[in-house]
Structure formats: structure tokens, C-alpha cells
Symmetry: C2
Subunit: 584 residues, 2 copies
């Protein structure tokens, strides 16, 4: 697609804009087909984005996306068309708005609900600095369920600044949108619309809409009008779009085409979850499932279909989902809260305050843990061990394969305390060794080196290193560190090896390696676990080498490549072992 | 106060209920005067609580408080009057609802916005288990600004269960309530009330109110009616109360009497913040301040008065406050977000995703870090180092005294990257040594022992241990570990001492001690900090002993006593040093 100047855009007729939109749409379709990405949400926002670029003067005016699943057309229209074929590829364009990528991306996103807050902050900064530009938050109706949006709405009048909030309403979040706010928005489309309009005005927004988001004849004047109104106050422009617009198969299957990615080798942990949780729930009526708008990606669809009374999708509300799980547990149920590692960050306080602070039987199913790849910085699941391991009362497990995941899920049924099971997206079936809540020796030898690997990915790397080491006459003991909290202290302290390696798909700070090092010197002391060195079990006899991620955000790219680049390199691990062998 | 049975309550006349309320109020006043606690909020909820106990059958019916600043009358009426004099004292009654304390406390709280979510979970569990009881969420209007409440409201219809939501509206959160939702609630009191009523009905709540919350003649029939309506659906009962009711000085000064505590020795860091931030802002127009309803407790009042255009109190919305700060920074400002350590937990994702993920110049002022004492588990600030240290791009400092805090604040003005300054409530002035961003040697000797103490409290403990050690002819080097991230690596690695002690007012998991241990073996490697042991600077030559908190929630009590009991015992530290001296 060729680059279009703003001057051209300003002069273009509605027909020409339509042609431009078609070529943007084609480019998006072609690129997502090749690189993966968010298809249907982006297809739905094409005309709206073209119209925004026509009416507003970017980057002077500021456009902020919520989540960012609708930013592709914006990227194509802001000078990045020549690079668009690199979308989501390592070193290429990000799939989300990113400040360092372009001055047209004024505020980076990835998680839901931030856009209106961010627009208010930018607008306020503009006012304080005596500048003059329009700030626009483009928010999908799915994000409208998130508490952050409400907090921002609530402070709109109070902050005394003007923003344009565009509600891109396609009736879907990732799953179909539901809930009270959704009904209010739906009502805006019908005869009782005055009620919803007044509500929004209450918060300090002048309401305009609904505008057909695929019709330039309606869009352009509506945006022009809204732009003018910004002199006087904040505006909500309600735009109706169709997810997947222009590609009938995407229009008809918006769920399936929300995120499109080349399916990696192996099987999804989510699939196993769907099967096993349903089996467990058959014989245990206390089991229920909670999700924040991710029923399908987490594999919960079979559970939702079989046990609709015990399955709750509360929309993009990770915090509320967590408190709901805690209180279901307080009421005698055993809830499973399935969530991506990166989105569990949103519920960190509730994990501490509601679930673990009250020692309630909630099982967290932490999917997409570790490096997740093409979605980049905002989606890597590399902090969960660091924020979960310090939480009292919480137990943390990570399976070595899908088979062990099944065993852990079965064990979780009777585990009536806070528990988190952490796993990456893809896995393989295994041999089906029993799960007894302790470390498992996968390969035993008498060398002075022992490797503790946490989770399927790290175990695979360790196995490859082992094979390579054995090929040159070296050997080490390999352990499946499947219980990350509490650690298998007895095992750790009983092992004679002088050289200890830890492998984790998480940042090193506050992760598994840190816990191992601490354990070597820790001594239980009365009611609390003090940290007084025990001479008999001294760390003095051991050297600990940890592999994981360093102190930086990991950008988008290919999973294995990022893991290698950012800390889990087979080569580096092998080199350390070779060095130790030389010394030992 | 004598214990009242439910039978007595059921029979009591309105006059007798009034007498009971007066004695409850007296008891609260007497106890808070002696033990500290939340005064005005509790005084305002007395009649409402008495009426709830009269109309509902606790603990069969379930009462959930939001935050919990209004639960004292409930404690007095649920068999805990004989223990009420132990309120907030170590081993005594908690100042918040707590499951393990009483079967009348069905859901523990401390942070805002959780009650409606929790009520929905309990009610859903009730339905699933075929039980029959009423679930009541008692929420102050301050909490109504929080995003969690909105997320719960949004899923109310969807969850298809019935709860009674009582809005205890006193027009105040901790600071006066403001914002769009506040205006909607205010409108419910006036002629335009239909609008607000319809909005709430939209979410699935039948609205009843406004009821005078100090008049049994109005309260009792309203609660009876609401109780009956619960068969059909969820109900919002809007009750108007007066914060501080019954004690004119508390009515007239609800801010000052919200939390009452015996003022500890020393001066508040908050006071220094108020002075210094205003000074900084005089010469730097980019500086602004953000808070989530804690203007006074954080010391921001002087700043708010002098720079109203650059000061934002957004209500109890920690997440929105954080995104607002991030976006003000993206717009060219330098925002300071002041927040208690425990409440920053709510904005963990925004710290990562919005501020540090974009490397924006936001300064976090993390007050009430470390053990905070009488408020207990939900308010201890002992996790912030663990959740902040793993965050890339973030710098973390902690001052040794108020004077150094001033110096850090001055340094922060030019520090245009994400920065967190962490400090306890109380401090003392110091000598005013310069702050250069490195560790500072406070006492130097040639012994084989070095103690790294993080923050004023740990340094004080270390100084006492030093004095004691010197008294018996021992000595150690004492270092002010004021830059916790990045650590002063050069200093750490250059020191010859064989025995290293770390002291931190935080849980050990993922804290300062872990970071020190890691640093001894870490090696910078290219773009990332790998964790490959550097032989020359081996940890082998060092033994690290860490003092901090173990793997448990720390209950309420007296600060110094809790610190001693849970991990920072002068005695234990001295014992380790004596042991090392014997070996060295």
C-alpha cells in the first residue's frame, strides 16, 4: 500500500476514501494472514480510522487506543505502510501502539480500559502547557466494562479538561459483550436511548450518535461536529461498527477471527483444561469456573457448555473476577479462575487481599505464562512468579507436560487452599508419572552438577543441553521443579551436588532462582520463617547459577528466539556446564 | 457494654434501640479514644448497623462491609463487646472484618470496592448450594467511585442472583467525595432523582431511598421492605448518614476524625513531602501531584492549596490515578503519584504496563512502607519491594531519615524516568549528608562483617545492634542501602567482607536480600543481564544473611513489636553477628 499524505486525505472524495479503506482492509487481511494478529477487530475499525485521519491532524492531535486491537489501519495511515509486512515479527512493527515506534503512537497499550484515563492525562498536560490539540480516546465496547474506564469517567468533570471519547461499538469484547453497561449501550440504539444519553451526560460527556462506522457520509460530519464541540467540553461519539467488516467469514465468526495466529506445534494447555475441569466438575459440585472475557482462549468453552450455572464470564474485569472467585470460595464453592499471566497482574491486589489474605480455596489457572511472543512487551507472562511467590498462603505448581497438568488438575480438586498452576500456551503429552507435590528426578547421575528446571519449556531446554553434554561425555542430574512454592526444601537441602543450576521462564528478580538461593540458607524458626543461616546445610558448599530473564521488557518476536535472546539460551547453559565440568 | 441477644433486639422499641445505639456510640468513642481507629465513619453507621441486626438474622444472613471502616458497631453487636477494649491491639480484635475472628465476619476487607463483588459471589454460592439466606453489601459512597464496584454492578444481571446493596452515603470518602458518580448520587437526593434511579435499575437494582440513617422509624420499615424484595431481585437501599454523628466535634471535622491514632514519636514523612514538593513545584512547572483520596494523610494538602491546577485527587481509584500520572508524563509533565504501599498493590499492572513499560517520568511516593501496625494484615506495606524490584525501567530509593528524604525529593526533580521512593510513616531529621545515588557507609571498620540496612527503620535497628556489639568489643561496617534498584553493584562487589547481612522492612521473598545474593553472582551480558557466575567476584567468598519478614501475613499490633516478632529482631541480628565473630 502506498503512503497517503494528509493533504491527499483532506481532498479525497467519499468514493476515494472508500477505495483507500478497501486497500487498507486488503493490506490488513494479507498481512494478518501471513503474520498473525488481530483480524476482525481491525477490519471493523478501518473506515473510522480513515475518517479520523481525514478530520484530525495527527500527530499534532493525539489518538489513544484502548487495548490496541484496532490500531492497524492507524499504523498503515501514519507512514508505516512500507514496514507493515514486518508486523509482529521480531524487530518489526508491534501489533500494538508503541511510543518508541512512531510519534503517531502517543500512548502505548495492550491491556484494557486505560484509554480514557490516558486521554485525560494528555489533555490535562496540554492545558497546563498551554498547548492546543485534540485528544481522542478510541475505546471498544468490551473495554467499557472495565473498572478503569469507570474510574476515568468518574473523574472527567473533576479534571476540567476536554477529550473526545469514541466508543467503537461492535457488540463484542473478545467474547460477546455482556453486562449492565452493555445493555445501556444497546439501549442507546433503541427508542429508550434518552436514558443512556443522560447517564453519559451526567459524567460530563455530550453524547452524539449513533453513527454508522462504515459510512463516510455519516462519519465525517459527525467527527467534524465532535471536533468543534471539543472547544466547549468533552464529547462521546458512539460509532456502530461490525467486527470483521468486509470479509464475510470474519463477520460471521468474530470470535474465531479476533486473534489469528499460525498454530504452533503441539497442543494447547487450554484444551486439556477444558477436558479435565469438566471431568472434575462432574463428580464435584463445588467446582465452578470464572473468566474475564476469555472463555475460548482459556479452553473453558466445554465447561461453560456443560455447566452453565457454574461458569461465569464477567467481561474484561480481572479484579472483579478475582473477588468473585474469593467470595464463591467463602460461600463454600471451589472456584477456578483461569486467566493469562499478564492479565492476572490486574488482580494482584485481589490475589493478596481477597484470596490469599483469607486463605480461600481458589485455584488460579495461569495460562500463557512465560514469553508469549508476537504480542510483545504488554503480553509477556514473565512476571507472575515474581509477584506470586512472595504471597503468603499461596501454593504454586508448574507442570512438565500436559499429562502432568492433568495430574495437577486432579490433585487441585482436593486442594482447598489458594493454588496457582502456571503453564505456557503449548505443550506435549508425557509419560504420566505420578504427581506427589514434590520435585521429580528426571535423570540421575553422580556428577557434581544438578539442574532444576521449572515448567515444560525449561525442561525441554534442559533435556537438549543434557543430550549435548552426554554427547561429549559429561552428565548432570535433571530435576523437574514442579512445586515452586513451597519449594521442595527437603529435596534441595538433601542433594549433595556442589553446582546448582536453575532454569525459569520468568524474570530472575524475585523468581525461582532467588527462592532456591534463599532456601539454601533459610531456617524455619518458630511461627515465622526467619532467615538465619543453618551451618549444617550451608550454601557455602553450593554455587547457584540461574537462567531466566533480565531486567528489561521483552519485545515481540518468535517465542523460542526471544527465550534464547533474553536469557534461556541452550548455548549459554551448556557453556556454564562445560565450565563447571572443567572445574569439578 | 453488655451483650444483646437477637431476641431482645427483635422485641426492642424504637426508643430502646435509640438507647442501645447511644451506648454503642459511647463504647466506640471510648475505645477509639484509647486504642485509635476509625472514628467518624463508625459513629455514622451505628443506627444503620443496629437496624440491620434487628431486621436480619446474622450470622445466618451475611453482612459484607466495604473497606471495613464502619464495622465497629457490628463487632459490638455480634458478641465481641467483651473484647472490644482490645481493638487494634496485638492479639486483640481487628479493626476490620476478619473471617477468623468471628462467624459474623463472612468476608474480610480493608481495601475499597470489593463488597459488591464479594456479595455476588456469596449469593451465587448460596444459590448453587440450595441455601437460603440474605446477602448484604454495605458500601460507603466513597467506595462507589472505585472501578471494582462498577465491574460488579456491570455483572449483576449476568450473574442472576439477588443481593441487597446498601449505600451508606455520608458524602465523604476519606476526603470529601467528588466525581461524576458522586453527582449522580447527590441528584438522588433532589428533584431530578428519577434519572439516577433509572441508571441503577439499568444495572439490575431496584432502588429504594433515601432513608435517614439515624432514624429507626424510617430505617426499620425500609430494611424490612428491602428484605422482602430480595425474593424478587437485587435491591439498592440508599441511606443518608452523617459521618461522626452524635459527636459534634467529629461531625464538624470528619476528615480529622476519620482515622484517629495516638501520634507516634517523630515526624511524619508526609509532612516533609508537603513542604518539599511545594518547593520543587515553585521552580518547576512540570511538577504535578496525583492521589487517590488521600490528600491529607499523604501530606499533599499544602501542595493542593498552592497549586490547585496541578493537583488531582481522583477518589479511591488507584489504577486510574496511575494511568493519569503515566499520561501526564507522556504529555510532558512530571507527575508525583503519592500512595500508601498497600494501596499501590491495586495499581501493580499500571505501574508495569503504563509507567515502566513506557519508561515515563512518574515519581511514586510510596508512603506507609513496611509494617504499619494497628490496621493489620490488609494494611501492612511489606510487599512493595517484592513487586517493584522486578519491574524493568524502575528505580527504587529509600531514605535513611527525613533529611535524606528531602535530598531524594530534590534529586527526583531532574530524574525523568520511573522512580519510586519508599518510606515508613514516621521519621527523624538527620545530619544532611549528600545524596549521590550510591550506597553510603555509616560506620566503617575492618571486621569481616558488613551490614546493609534499607531504610530508616532498619538503619535504626542496625545502629542499636552496632552499639551493643561495640559494647562487647565487636564491630561491623554499616551501610545505608538507600538505592535498592539498581543496587550499588560496584560497592557490593568491591567490599572485602566475608559475612554480609541485609536488613529490610519487607517480606524476604523477592526483596532486597534476594537482590543482594543475586548480584554477587550476576554478570552483565550484552543487551540483557544474564545470570552467569563471574568467578572473579564469586559469592563463594561471601555468606549472606537476610533479615526481613517470612511467608505469612502480619496481623495488627504495635509496629516495633510486630517488626521484632516477624523478622527484624535486634536480638536475632546480634546473635548472628556474635556467632560470626566467633567463627571469623
Amino acid at each position: 500500500m502506498r503512503t497517503i499524505s494528509r493533504a491527499e486525505l483532506r481532498k479525497a472524495s467519499a468514493d476515494q476514501l472508500k477505495v483507500l479503506s478497501d486497500s487498507v482492509r486488503e493490506e490488513i487481511f494479507r498481512t494478518v494472514s501471513a503474520c498473525g494478529g488481530h483480524l476482525s477487530s481491525n477490519l471493523g475499525a478501518v473506515e473510522l480510522t480513515v475518517a479520523l485521519h481525514r478530520v484530525f491532524d495527527f500527530p499534532r492531535d493525539k489518538l489513544i487506543f484502548d487495548v490496541g486491537h484496532q490500531c492497524y489501519a492507524h499504523k498503515l495511515l501514519s507512514g508505516r505502510a512500507p514496514l507493515f509486512h514486518t508486523l509482529r515479527k521480531e524487530g518489526g512493527l508491534s501489533g500494538f501502539p508503541k511510543r518508541e515506534e512512531s510519534k503517531y503512537d502517543v500512548y502505548g497499550t495492550g491491556h484494557a480500559g486505560t484509554a480514557l484515563s490516558a486521554a485525560l492525562g494528555l489533555a490535562k498536560a496540554r492545558d497546563l502547557r498551554g498547548e492546543d490539540y485534540a485528544v481522542i480516546a478510541l475505546v471498544g465496547d468490551g473495554s467499557f466494562q472495565n473498572g478503569l474506564i469507570y474510574e476515568a469517567l468518574n473523574s472527567l468533570k473533576l479534571l476540567k479538561t476536554n477529550v473526545l471519547l469514541i466508543l467503537n461499538d461492535n457488540g463484542m469484547s473478545i467474547s460477546p459483550t455482556a453486562g449492565g453497561m452493555h445493555e445501556i449501550l444497546e439501549e442507546l440504539k433503541g427508542p429508550a436511548r434518552e436514558r443512556g444519553v443522560r447517564l453519559l451526560e451526567e459524567f460530563g460527556l455530550s453524547y452524539r450518535g449513533i453513527v454508522n462506522g462504515h459510512d463516510f457520509g455519516a462519519l465525517l460530519p459527525a467527527l467534524e461536529e465532535a471536533r468543534g464541540m471539543l472547544k466547549e467540553g468533552s464529547v462521546l461519539l458512539h460509532v456502530a461498527t461490525r467486527k470483521g467488516q468486509g470479509y464475510p467469514f470474519a463477520e460471521n465468526a468474530p470470535l474465531e477471527t479476533h486473534g489469528v495466529s499460525p498454530v504452533p506445534a503441539g497442543r494447547e494447555y487450554a484444551g486439556v483444561l477444558g477436558e479435565e475441569l469438566s471431568l472434575l466438575a462432574e463428580s464435584d459440585e463445588k467446582i465452578c469456573a470464572v473468566t474475564a472475557a476469555m472463555t475460548d482462549s482459556l479452553g473453558l468453552r466445554p465447561f461453560f457448555e456443560r455447566f452453565p450455572a457454574r461458569a461465569y464470564d464477567v467481561g474484561i474485569c480481572e479484579e472483579h473476577a478475582c473477588v468473585l472467585a474469593a467470595s464463591l470460595a467463602a460461600g463454600g464453592m471451589h472456584p477456578y479462575y483461569a486467566v493469562y499471566s499478564t492479565f492476572l497482574q490486574r488482580a494482584y491486589d485481589e490475589v493478596l487481599h481477597d484470596v490469599c489474605g483469607q486463605n480461600l480455596p481458589v485455584t488460579f489457572l495461569v495460562d500463557r505464562a512465560g514469553v508469549t511472543g508476537a504480542d510483545g512487551e504488554t503480553h509477556q507472562g514473565v512476571f507472575d512468579l515474581s509477584f506470586l511467590l512472595p504471597v503468603p498462603n499461596l501454593t504454586v505448581w508448574t507442570p512438565k507436560d500436559l499429562t502432568e497438568f492433568r495430574a495437577m488438575l486432579r490433585a487441585s480438586g482436593d486442594f482447598l487452599r489458594p493454588l496457582a498452576i502456571r503453564y505456557p500456551r503449548m505443550g506435549e503429552e508425557g509419560k504420566g508419572t505420578p504427581f506427589d507435590g514434590k520435585f521429580e528426578v528426571l535423570h540421575s547421575t553422580t556428577s557434581d552438577i544438578i539442574v532444576y528446571a521449572a515448567g515444560e519449556r525449561c525442561i525441554k531446554i534442559a533435556r537438549r543441553v543434557l543430550e549435548r553434554a552426554q554427547g561429549v561425555g559429561m552428565d548432570f542430574t535433571l530435576v523437574n521443579a514442579r512445586t515452586l512454592k513451597p519449594l521442595d526444601r527437603e529435596f534441595l537441602l538433601s542433594r549433595p551436588e556442589k553446582f546448582v543450576l536453575t532454569l525459569e521462564d520468568n524474570v530472575l528478580a524475585g523468581g525461582f532462582g532467588d527462592a532456591v538461593r534463599r532456601t539454601f540458607t533459610e531456617e524455619e524458626k518458630g511461627e515465622i520463617s526467619h532467615f538465619v543461616r543453618n551451618d549444617a546445610r550451608s550454601t557455602l558448599n553450593r554455587e547457584v547459577f540461574s537462567f531466566g530473564y533480565g531486567d528489561n521488557f521483552i519485545p515481540h518476536g518468535e517465542v523460542e528466539s526471544l527465550m534464547r535472546r533474553f536469557g534461556l539460551s541452550e548455548e549459554d547453559i551448556f557453556a556454564v556446564i562445560r565450565g563447571l565440568y572443567a572445574r569439578g
